[in-house]
Symmetry: C2
Subunit: 268 residues, 2 copies
């Protein structure tokens, strides 16, 4: 990676994906191609795919599906954008075997198989953009850190071999802004939709708000309440628990950037 | 009033209004003609009406206008329903002079003037019905009391001679239900819309949640948060403060029952 050659910002998802494919961009995709949907990635063998599809269907808030392969083995995802090749168009991938991380790579062509099914799952970047556009402050954005995420005691609906509790992200707001946040996020069910809880963390099994299970802690001011949203880490946690013999995910922060405008996800 | 003759329940707004007009029904309208919009009433002389219209326009959450007279002096409100005569179709009215309550009557025909303008303002009954239909418990309904209402430190936008702070109603919910309540109420901007606050009462100037300024206290369970919604008492309070020389309002709980289905108020 020659950082001298690396542009700091791509406006077009297509240009960004081409640069990733050519090895010219290998960083986090956060902030790139603003206005376009970024997705969490899960790739599973056909043998596991049906169970996982049912799990996502049964748990749409933590596992909102934006797109799925049209057939096993096809690495192209026209539904996600022009010339999208899931083997090369993310900056970084994780390879898992029997629930254990075995490798982190920038290209999965050598791992591709005819029975693999790709799942693209919505990501909070889309609704964060809508909140910022409305003038709300997103604390993890203003503090320049990853959003704090927590394991909860909220059980997902089990499906086949997949089960587990919901993982949530947390953003603090004063109540008036929390009400507006609920309205805006309700318009975006395919990126987790309305929050699942606000206020007392212990009510959903979070014992210490200052020590997130993933991501970074953020400041909660005295007049603010923590607002908890279902998180795309949930399906990854369920996969790790089910331990499929083979699986590929994106590396944290290295998403598939699609050609779908965020505004297209709004149901209202 | 012959209570032997008084039916306990009217299904049709028209039949209810005719019974009120005939003197056969003089009770609170709560629970009558379910499914139809009930309205707060304010009648002001033309000289005051423009200021009041501007005040409502500037403060749509506490003062959502459902209908206004087509011209001063016209007591008929076709927009509200078949044969609606505002002089006779409410069970009870209050007459105010220079900000003081001078009389409570069941017919205002003798007080009618050619310069009077009628304002119908949305009422929480409509959104409460939508919440109950969704399976939420409304505490003031389940405890059989009036909703608790509080003066706040939230200033309305002044207009002409009208100004004052917002009055809010309060309903307790667990956070998950509060989120659903915010979604449902957002669909009904003409009956106060989304709440204005939840949680800490002192943040909006309410010092004691157990002693409402109007209505009755309700139980707040340990896992619940109070949710505060702009209330139709606000415009009445602003009128009392402005002290117009003449004014007519409904008596508390004795609303105009219109032919407008509650569902017609939903914007989504």
């Amino acid at each position: 990676m020659d950082f001298q050659r690396m542009p700091s910002h791509f406006a077009s998802p297509y240009a960004l994906r081409q640069a990733i494919r050519a090895g010219d961009f290998a960083a986090n995709t956060s902030g790139q191609a603003p206005g376009f949907v970024q997705c969490n990635l899960a790739i599973l063998p056909r043998d596991w795919a049906m169970d996982f599809l049912q799990f996502c269907q049964a748990n749409p808030k933590p596992c909102p599906l934006v797109a799925v392969s049209d057939q096993p083995g096809n690495p192209l995802l026209a539904a996600a954008g022009e010339d999208v090749d899931i083997r090369t168009d993310l900056p970084r991938y994780r390879i898992w075997q029997n629930g254990a991380l075995t490798e982190e790579v920038s290209d999965i062509s050598a791992h591709w198989r005819d029975d693999l099914v790709t799942f693209l799952i919505g990501c909070s970047f889309s609704f964060e953009e809508a909140l910022v556009a409305d003038g709300l402050e997103i604390r993890n954005v203003s503090e320049g850190v990853n959003v704090p995420m927590y394991n909860t005691n909220l059980a997902c609906t089990p499906a086949g071999r997949f089960h587990g509790n919901m993982v949530v992200s947390m953003r603090p707001f004063v109540p008036r802004d929390a009400i507006r946040m609920i309205q805006i996020c309700s318009r975006f069910p395919s990126v987790h939709g309305a929050p699942v809880h606000f206020g007392d963390p212990q009510a959903i099994g979070i014992n210490n708000i200052d020590t997130p299970d993933y991501g970074d802690a953020v400041t909660i001011k005295p007049d603010e309440v923590p607002v908890f949203t279902a998180c795309g880490v949930t399906p990854q946690a369920a996969i790790m628990q089910a331990k499929p013999d083979f699986c590929i995910t994106h590396s944290p922060g290295c998403m598939l950037v699609t050609d779908i405008p965020n505004s297209k996800l709004a149901i209202l």
